[in-house]
């Protein structure tokens, strides 16, 4: 039994990294823009579909362009719709982005059809790796590597580059950033595009694991919200810790009480919210007070 528990925890951590990648884009969008983006899952699905299409047109190498392309779509959406939500009631952003999610899903269905698209991992990543009781597929190892690399790159970008500093400063004190002569609207457009590109990266990586279908966004958006709520709205560190915790809790629930697996992450969220309503790493943000 110990072997099985160890195996499930390891599997949960890998699954957790997928959740982290889905959630971190959502967290960034909220943290930097103050917008609760319910369409995040739709951008995740769009990433998977762009990857499928690019693969069919140009082969595997082209798949890497799916996230930046979705990022561009996100920037266009920000410039036309999301921009109008800044500083408004959070409920308004929820309603508008929910409508946006439905619209994107309808566009996906209209463009690619209601049926799913077969999409498997590249042959180089087929097969499994076993270490004692642990079993992990080569593709999941690759997902783990890609996720960690993306998260480290994102952290370095936000922490060490001038653009990252402007983004962070803009999220805390937009007036001051504008007074310094920085074109804040353009910065916010880029930030929303970054969040969408991260959702799309998760979609690309999940495409060989989950069925690529218009409804795949539903599988992504709820765990992402739970992870962000547990980790603390806008907290990068919180999204990582919460994502891994959610992955492990789901895996262990499947081991001992499988019919409760879907509810387990909500129970975890409920418990954390009771103890710490701002989430594990949630901070006081003046502009949201």
């Amino acid at each position: 039994m110990i072997d099985m528990i160890v195996s499930q925890i390891a599997n949960g951590l890998v699954l957790g990294f997928v959740y982290v990648l889905i959630a971190v884009g959502l967290s960034i969008t909220f943290g930097l823009l103050g917008v609760i983006n319910f369409a995040h899952g739709a951008f995740f699905a769009l990433g998977a579909y762009f990857a499928w299409q690019l693969f069919h047109w140009f082969g595997w190498a082209a798949v890497i362009f799916a996230p930046p392309l979705v990022g561009l779509v996100g920037m266009a959406v920000e410039a036309t719709i999301v921009r109008r939500l800044y500083g408004k009631e959070p409920l308004l952003s929820l309603i508008v982005t929910f409508a946006l999610a439905l619209l994107i899903e309808a566009i996906i269905r209209f463009t690619w059809g209601a049926d799913g698209k077969p999409f498997n991992a590249p042959a180089i990543f087929s097969g499994i790796v076993e270490f004692g009781p642990l079993l992990i597929t080569k593709y999941r190892v690759a997902v783990l590597g890609a996720t960690i690399a993306t998260l480290l790159g994102l952290w370095a970008f936000l922490a060490w580059t001038p653009y990252g500093r402007i983004l962070r400063a803009g999220s805390r004190d937009p007036e001051m950033v504008e007074l310094l002569g920085i074109n804040l609207p353009r910065v916010l457009t880029a930030a929303f595009g970054l969040g969408c590109a991260l959702a799309a990266t998760a979609g690309v990586l999940a495409a060989p694991l989950w069925a690529v279908s218009p409804s795949m966004s539903a599988n992504a958006v709820m765990p992402a919200f739970v992870v962000v709520a547990i980790g603390g709205l806008g907290s990068f560190r919180g999204a990582v810790v919460a994502g891994l915790a959610v992955g492990v809790v789901i895996s262990l629930t499947i081991q001992f009480k499988p019919e409760a697996a879907a509810a387990s992450m909500y129970v975890l969220m409920f418990a954390i919210m009771l103890l710490r309503p701002r989430g594990l790493f949630g901070e006081r943000w003046e502009r949201f007070e």
Partner: protein, 412 residues
């Protein structure tokens, strides 16, 4: 005095005029009811993991209308399609179809949980409902209704067809089923039949609907080392499972068998991930298909550029049965349609199939298929093995006796 008389005359003229207008309005409404379009409701998924299934069901139903020349009783048919996202909304949509769209009957209900919710409305409003996908036994069992008919073979019938094949694979059986009425019925039926094949239970997982990642379930199955897995996952959930079953190297190692699958589950994941033995209502490339079914396949391919899935067939046969019954009844009154459906019979195959009058279950064998070793065609994934029964008597017997089914059919 003269003024009062004039007022009386004006009032009488007004009343007469209003009465005439009302009579004309009523007469034209009656005329429209008798000559206007006949509305039929469809409740199939438009979104979520069942969207592809819903699309095929709708296409099948629409094709049946088209093949009927778009008319029944000489009047045009108008289809109104609403969504089947969950039991609550499906039930509300059923009510909307009746109250707002004034449909004469409804075809739909792919999920047992939604179907059971829709049945209560059909029963209360006395509107015929033909269920085209739901398989849980209670629909035509203890919850049976005079206004509900069902095309899909019940879970016990499908499991009984599957078990002899499972017995050939081994004795230790693992179950992975969805955690709602349909999945619970699979468990109940298969557990009841395990002793007959000398089987034992290696493990059971009841999986919540809309599960994306099955890796932890697959680890459990791998650890339990069963001889075979019996499943009942549906739609996108099943596609996710198949994909990850293959990804985790289980394809070809532990055989997988399931009931009530549909072609789109496999088309969605492609040949690489497809594996197993399955029970389906129908298969487009079955050499035993009737001429009408072959024509439906040809018409479907011509219209949509792809063959019909078994769901398209279910939507098609449900609508056909309804239209033929309305024609036979020469009426759109609910009681007349129900009576006609109870005597409706299709005689195009080697033996007839029909809705059994005492439980409203379509008595027709399902097909047993196996994923081909090598799939070369984009759509043709299966080898047809056999029907779940081969004679009219065996089919009737497979669907159970009155005592076994437990339906007390209420009066009209």
């Amino acid at each position: 005095m003269i003024g009062i008389q004039r007022d009386k005359r004006s009032f009488l003229r007004l009343v007469t005029g209003a009465a005439t207008m009302a009579t004309i309005g009523w007469a034209s409404a009656v005329a429209a009811e008798e000559t206007g379009p006949i509305r039929i409701g469809l409740i199939y998924s438009k979104q979520g993991p069942g969207a592809a299934i819903g699309e095929f069901l709708q296409r099948g139903s629409a094709l049946a209308v088209e093949q009927a020349g778009g008319k029944v009783l000489g009047r045009p048919i108008e289809l109104v399609w609403l969504d089947e996202p969950n039991p609550q909304v499906s039930q509300q949509n059923m009510q909307r179809l009746i109250d707002e769209n004034k449909v004469v009957a409804v075809v739909g209900g792919n999920y047992s949980s939604s179907a059971l919710a829709m049945m209560s409305v059909a029963n209360r409003e006395k509107i015929p409902l033909i269920l085209t996908g739901a398989a849980a036994r209670e629909i035509t069992g203890k919850e049976c209704s005079r206004y509900t008919f069902r095309t899909q073979a019940t879970v016990p019938v499908q499991i009984a067809g599957l078990m002899p094949y499972v017995a050939e694979l081994g004795k230790k059986i693992y179950f992975i089923t969805p955690s709602y009425a349909f999945g619970q019925d699979i468990l109940r039926s298969a557990r009841g039949m395990l002793p007959a094949i000398g089987g034992t239970e290696a493990g059971v997982d009841e999986v919540p609907v809309n599960t994306a990642d099955y890796s932890s379930y697959i680890l459990k199955i791998r650890q339990a080392k069963p001889d075979a897995v019996i499943g009942g996952l549906v739609g996108g959930d099943f596609s996710n499972f198949l994909k990850q079953w293959n990804e985790m190297g289980m394809k070809g190692k532990i055989p997988y068998a399931a009931v009530a699958v549909t072609d789109t589950d496999f088309w969605d994941v492609g040949p690489q991930a497809s594996t197993g033995i399955f029970i389906k209502p129908w298969y487009y490339n079955n050499p035993n298909n009737t001429p009408a079914e072959k024509k439906m396949t040809a018409d479907f391919v011509a219209k949509y550029g792809a063959p019909p899935s078994d769901k398209a067939w279910s939507g098609w046969i449900g609508m056909r049965a309804l239209l033929e019954s309305i024609e036979a009844a020469k009426s759109t009154k609910s009681a007349d349609i129900v009576t006609a459906l109870e005597t409706w019979k299709n005689t195009e195959g080697s033996f007839p199939f029909y809705f059994r009058s005492w439980d409203h279950q379509m008595v027709r064998p399902a097909v047993i298929v196996q994923v081909k070793r090598t799939i070369t065609d984009k759509w043709d994934f299966f080898d047809f093995l056999k029907n779940t029964s081969d004679t009219a008597a065996d089919t009737e017997k497979a669907f159970g006796t009155k005592d076994e089914i437990g339906c007390s059919m209420p009066a009209l």
